[in-house]
């Protein structure tokens, strides 16, 4: 759970750092990624891994389209405009997905190559697919952090995130960096969507709420912090599991689904920029 939230949260952070806007369309891109994985791996019988690759490509293209049609024309306008526009795109895309009968008429099963096997870890039996989800999440997160910190692309990305104009002035190709950030976020969303639909869970239009619960994860960690996204994602995952297991019945059914928001409100009251975010310095 935490691993999936961290993946989704990373997608939000990557776009936020590049474009300075919260990309609400990330939610529907994640759902699309999950459904594409289902389509490719089950209906086209390409297998699980190839299915994820196909989904990642499709989601990357969709993210690219969103960048060129919405985010790029709105660059330089208030970030609120981008946020509102992506909310619109998200509503449209999600309704569109819900209107495609082969996918949305009932829950679909992406399944998993590991079936219902369990592995014994530290004396308790755990679904193998859970372990794989955690492993995939961890590998991707480490790879991404490494790319950000060590590669030439990461350097450029951080430069653009820091100050777009200064980066452009020193010769960083801003546009390609932006495009790559959006595509990368789309691919992360697709991977997360695929993992959301992996074995013990089924994919349904309501799976979009996974991505909505990743938003508190991002905010808890701090919108512009990669570390924050990872920690926030894990935290939200733990809070959700604990709320599901230990919350008193008087708090109502499904309290675990809203617990992340309560946690987020609490964190924001004490640290308005999130746990790992940098407070933005403003001047007139």
């Amino acid at each position: 759970m935490g691993a999936i939230y961290a993946l989704i949260a990373l997608g939000f952070v990557v776009v936020f750092r590049a474009s300075g806007a919260l990309n609400f369309a990330h939610v529907s891109v994640m759902l699309l990624g999950g459904y594409m994985t289902f389509q490719a791996s089950r209906l086209w019988e390409l297998g699980y891994a190839l299915g994820i690759v196909v989904a990642a490509v499709v989601a990357g293209v969709v993210a690219l389209v969103i960048y060129f049609t919405v985010a790029q024309p709105l660059a330089g306008r208030p970030v609120m405009a981008v946020a509102i526009a992506t909310i619109g795109v998200d509503a449209a895309l999600r309704s569109g997905l819900g209107a495609y009968p082969p996918w949305a008429s009932e829950r679909v099963e992406v399944g998993s190559p590991w079936g219902a096997d369990t592995t014994r870890v530290l004396g308790s039996s755990v679904l193998t697919s859970h372990l794989w989800v955690i492993a995939i999440g961890a590998v991707v997160v480490v790879a991404l952090v490494f790319a950000l910190e060590r590669s030439r692309w990461g350097l450029r990305f951080r430069a653009v995130a820091e100050d777009e104009e200064a980066a452009a002035a020193t010769g960083v190709p801003v546009r390609p960096v932006m495009v790559s950030a959006w595509v990368l976020a789309g691919m992360l969303a697709a991977l997360a969507g695929a993992l959301v639909g992996t074995f013990p869970r089924l994919l349904q239009p309501e799976s979009a709420e996974f991505a909505f619960r990743a938003i508190p994860a991002v905010v808890i960690g701090g919108l512009n912090s990669v570390t924050g996204a990872i920690v926030g994602g894990l935290l939200v995952g733990f809070v959700e599991i604990y709320a599901a297991g230990y919350a008193p019945a008087a708090w109502g059914v499904n309290v675990h689904l809203v617990a992340p928001y309560a946690l987020m409100l609490a964190v924001l009251l004490f640290r308005a920029e999130g746990l790992f975010g940098t407070p933005d310095v403003r001047r007139l």
């Binding site: 509102i84 909310i87 619109g88 109502g252 059914v253 499904n254 409100l265």
Partner: protein
């Protein structure tokens, strides 16, 4: 001795209100600030009010339902416009306040046994208080963080609607007793003081009056000192604070007033629907209100009414046209149903409006006016 002259200034002309007042050229500041500051605007408003009053005699039941729903939605959209469009505080949780208003209506008319007329001020006070509770958060977090906070508020409210069964009825939903005047059900119609009321007619008139009052209240607020404070906070809250605007007070006022009117819209919506569900106050409803605001014209209070009419009418139009349109599914709940088709349309419209014409239909209207005014030398 000659009477003192006012040389070199001509004697002060008696200020008369011109018979035809142009919208842009005024002789006094007062005249420019008037609510409808030109002759044409005054005539147009009069015509619109007359049309709205006569509408029940011109259209049949289905469209009366749509018109009433649209007017109720316009109250919510106008209040969102005050908060987001004028004061610049993006809220994704507006549907929650509308829902709280509706549940207040259910509780007040159900277990407490009072009428819907009592529920309205109660809901406005309750929602206003809740808005005040959000204000300190709005002071601490800005922009996107605030949007996320209001999103969280929406989900938490939804959780409460579902689980606080003693008040909200939980999953079973809640019933709102429709209002009556002198024993006449305003929704069904009847004869009231010698007046023949058709279906929805009475309720429509009540809603129309309240929507009109809401418009006047919010519009007057925008052109007051408080309204200018809101605009200053929207443009840059730090700068507003520096020049002496009490930022906290402005934000708190925007939240309180906006939430109170959203509560009013909720009461009216509850009374109209008679039965409310826990899951209808979701993000999609909030997005609908955003679309009404953005499509009409962000920051232009009255434009939200146009947006509300559009957003409420489109699903109904699609529903009626469904058999004749390709792609549209007539089977309930499967495929591209009219509600889904309109959600797709609204989502795309929201994006298109943001990219192409940030002022929405109002912006288009301004462009058209400018084009016609400078014709044939328009560019």
């Amino acid at each position: 001795m000659a009477a003192p002259t006012s040389y070199p200034f001509p004697p002060r002309a008696r200020r008369r209100r011109p018979r035809l007042q142009h919208a842009d050229f005024h002789t006094t500041w007062r005249s420019e600030l008037r609510l409808w500051n030109s002759t044409v605007k005054r005539l147009a408003v009069t015509a619109l009010v007359l049309l709205a009053l006569l509408a029940p005699y011109l259209v049949d039941g289905v469209w009366m339902r749509v018109a009433t729903m649209a007017l109720i939605a316009s109250i919510a959209a106008m209040s969102l416009n005050l908060l987001t469009g004028v004061a610049g505080q993006l809220s994704l949780g507006h549907a929650a306040f509308v829902g709280i208003g509706a549940y207040t209506a259910a509780y007040v008319t159900g277990p407490l046994g009072w009428t819907l007329w009592v529920a309205a001020p109660v809901a406005m006070a309750l929602c206003g208080a809740l808005g005040l509770a959000l204000a300190p958060i709005a002071l601490r977090v800005r922009g996107l963080y605030l949007a996320v906070v209001t999103l969280g508020f929406l989900f938490l409210a939804g959780h409460l609607f579902r689980n606080w069964e003693s008040v909200t009825g939980g999953v079973g939903g809640a019933r709102v007793t429709p209002p009556t005047v002198a024993g006449v059900d305003l929704l069904r119609g009847g004869t009231l003081a010698g007046f023949e009321l058709r279906q929805y007619h009475g309720y429509y008139l009540v809603v129309l009056a309240l929507a009109g009052l809401t418009y006047l209240a919010l519009r007057n607020l925008v052109r007051s000192r408080t309204g200018r404070d809101f605009a200053a906070v929207r443009d840059d809250d730090l700068a507003a604070g520096v020049v002496g605007v009490d930022v906290f007070k402005a934000k708190a006022r925007a939240f309180v007033i906006s939430s109170a009117f959203a509560g009013l819209a909720g009461v009216l919506l509850g009374g109209f629907l008679r039965f409310i569900n826990y899951d209808q106050w979701d993000l999609l409803l909030s997005i609908d209100y955003l679309v009404m605001m953005a499509l009409g014209g962000t920051g232009i209070i009255g434009a939200a009414i146009v947006g509300a009419l559009f957003v409420t009418a489109v699903p109904e139009v699609l529903d009626q046209l469904a058999p004749h349109l390709p792609l549209l599914s007539e089977q309930a709940g499967v495929g591209l149903t009219p509600p889904r088709a309109s959600a797709i349309l609204f989502g795309l419209l929201l994006a298109v409006v943001m990219v192409a014409e940030p002022l929405g239909l109002y912006g288009l209207w301004l462009r058209l006016k400018r084009y016609l005014a400078t014709w044939p030398f328009s560019y």
